[in-house]
Symmetry: C2
Subunit: 353 residues, 2 copies
DNA sequence: CACCACGATGTGAGCGCTCACATTGTTAGC
DNA sequence: GCTAACAATGTGAGCGCTCACATCGTGGTG
């Protein structure tokens, strides 16, 4: 299965082509100062020998590995995973490798370990997904001697937001605002909120957007209840919400999984959706369209965020090298997908007894 | 943000400790032939300088990078993602790095590109997730000069299965068998099957297990309908199934997303679950418990499969080195989780008009 | 007491590449 | 026609580590 002949090296190619190893290096690196015929000879020799440049040796000599690191947390949530793929796609399109380090607990120790692991693999820079306050704090505290870009969390909205950290993110605030506004436009007196865990930055951004839309419309701001992103927590949070205010007609839920749980709680409570209560989610997971009823939700372009993160990181690594176009706009817009879980506010009813 | 002092190297440590660079190397590598006092001196010097071994130089000298590659397909399906994390966890526990290469189309060209990318990063071995026939074929055809272990797909059940390829996988066949058997035990005359895409190996294993359980029980084997794993396809496949056999009472669906779609189709058709029709899924995605009704499904230990894949790969890379215990059993068992979507077959009814 | 074996240490070469510089040959310029 | 400039090429020294080997001291053996 493994061929035993040692892989050809630059000198082998040079010998066969009748040039020096340096000339081979020039050809491999696309240097302009190689004459046509020489270049052809070298290319032919490379082809014949099946030569492939040894990236490790190159990395040792240049002090650049051509690999990016990604720090991610141990979550199979839709967002992080999709972002990871976006990063990989963008990196590999640029000829860069991607190493991952999964952090399994939000302790600064675990974060440092992950960072160390990447550093030991001598990545040229890291894309960090730090969705929680604590994770972010740990990460910025132990800021590595490595160019780092944050994706998601840190940057989530805010008009004049001037983050000190290089970051890209989705416009969570805007998405939440749009979702809330959508419900208000449907005639609901106000919109309740089933929030994400409050130590998650994304969750705060969504609360903020919801709040902003409410106050802009002069609608009262009910207490919100926070879950932990899981369907289970959405279920019980919805029950809490219903108990507190049986007359509610519209809920903006901070993610689709929790919305799934909320739908179940509403069903069990005998509320029809969207007849009695309208529900809007966030994320647009692939299944959202097949919830009962199909979920109105806010779609995020995670892959695009990953792509921009890579571009930003590259700008950081090679300040004025290949400019690769202008720096990407850091805030990726969202899109509200109106499906069937949201509808007009129920007509005037007799007050609760 | 970046310190400018060049990182200390082995020689710096050696000088400070008053020993040779080789002795430092011995300490770093845990060689037994270093006296206590010397070792202490070296460790102190390392600590003082903040020395960290340069992995690139080491890789160049040893021809080993200490990095594993993972080939994965561009899918956010629950299984592959969880497996990826399992691989990362296992690798990092062993001090190995993980590089990923995402294949975005199932063409042998794309597969080769991904493989090349990993090879250029000089990974020591690769864990390949090749869920489809074509992907597997492309991968085995272009088998790299690299130790490779397959995870999922290839190995999916079968008693005396003797795969030529080093592989680990979940006992899909057994899981499907158990799911089907569960429904038969509930008194259903037979069990219909809503299958996955037939070019996916996992899908075939599940069909096989279903078939085996049916024939073992002497139950008739209805035609099955295949979807594409999505909720949408589950929805329409369920409608097809219902149209073909309005009297069906039990369905084994090849994954949870499709089961979600199937539940919706059943709901729309006025069938209650599990009153009229029992449904069993596969995978146990986190949301399955909050489907309506909570889904009976087969849980796979993806992370465990990832772990075993790494162990197997290591055995392949270092044949008789650190034995790291016996080779793992390649077939990871599944577990049937009985929830509320499956129940006793409906009592005898008058035949359809 | 000479001998050898063995543990502890040091020495130098080399992994495969790129860097900085030296060396050619060629053409342009006055 | 002689120099300056430049393109095309070659040379050697590292990058930071490990490998194979050489060297030194020590203690047990007959």
């Amino acid at each position: 299965m493994r061929s035993d002949a040692p892989a050809p090296v630059m000198t082998d190619v040079a010998r066969l082509a009748g040039v020096s190893h340096q000339t081979v290096s020039r050809v491999v690196n696309g240097s302009p100062n190689v004459s046509g015929p020489t270049k052809a000879k070298v290319l032919a020799a490379m082809e014949q020998l099946g030569y492939r440049r040894n990236a490790v040796a190159r990395a040792l000599a240049t002090r650049r590995s051509g690999t990016l690191g990604v720090i991610t947390f141990n979550t199979v949530l839709h967002g992080p995973v999709t972002t990871l793929y976006g990063v990989e796609r963008a990196a590999s399109a640029l000829g860069l490798g991607v190493s991952i380090a999964v952090v399994d607990q939000i302790t600064s120790e675990a974060v440092v370990r992950a960072l160390t692991r990447l550093q030991d693999q001598s990545v040229d820079g890291v894309v960090a997904m730090a969705p929680q306050q604590d994770a972010l704090r740990a990460l910025t505290a132990e800021l590595p001697a490595l160019p780092t870009v944050f994706v998601g969390g840190v940057l989530g909205g805010g008009a004049g937001e001037a983050s000190a950290l290089p970051a890209v993110g989705t416009d969570q605030r805007g998405g939440a605002h749009a979702a809330t506004r959508h419900l208000l436009d449907l005639g609901h007196r106000t919109v309740h909120h089933l929030a994400g865990p409050q130590d998650w930055l994304d969750a705060s951004w969504r609360v903020e957007g919801w709040r902003a839309a409410l106050s802009a419309a002069g609608a009262p701001e009910p207490e919100f209840v926070a879950g932990d992103w899981s369907a289970r927590s959405g279920y019980s949070a919805m029950r809490t919400l219903l108990a507190a205010d049986p007359g509610l007609t519209a809920v903006f839920v901070a993610n689709d999984q929790m919305a799934l749980g909320a739908l179940r709680a509403l069903d069990e409570a005998g509320r029809s959706v969207p007849g009695d209560v309208s529900v809007v989610g966030f994320d647009d997971v692939p299944e959202a369209e097949f919830f009962r009823p199909p979920l109105t939700t806010v779609s995020q372009q995670f892959a695009e965020a990953g792509r921009r993160a890579v571009q930003l990181l590259l700008d950081l690594i090679r300040p004025h090298d290949t400019p690769s176009g202008p720096s990407p706009r850091p805030l990726v817009p969202t899109e509200l997908l109106v499906r069937r879980s949201s509808g007009p506010a129920p007509g005037v009813r007799s007050g609760v007894p």
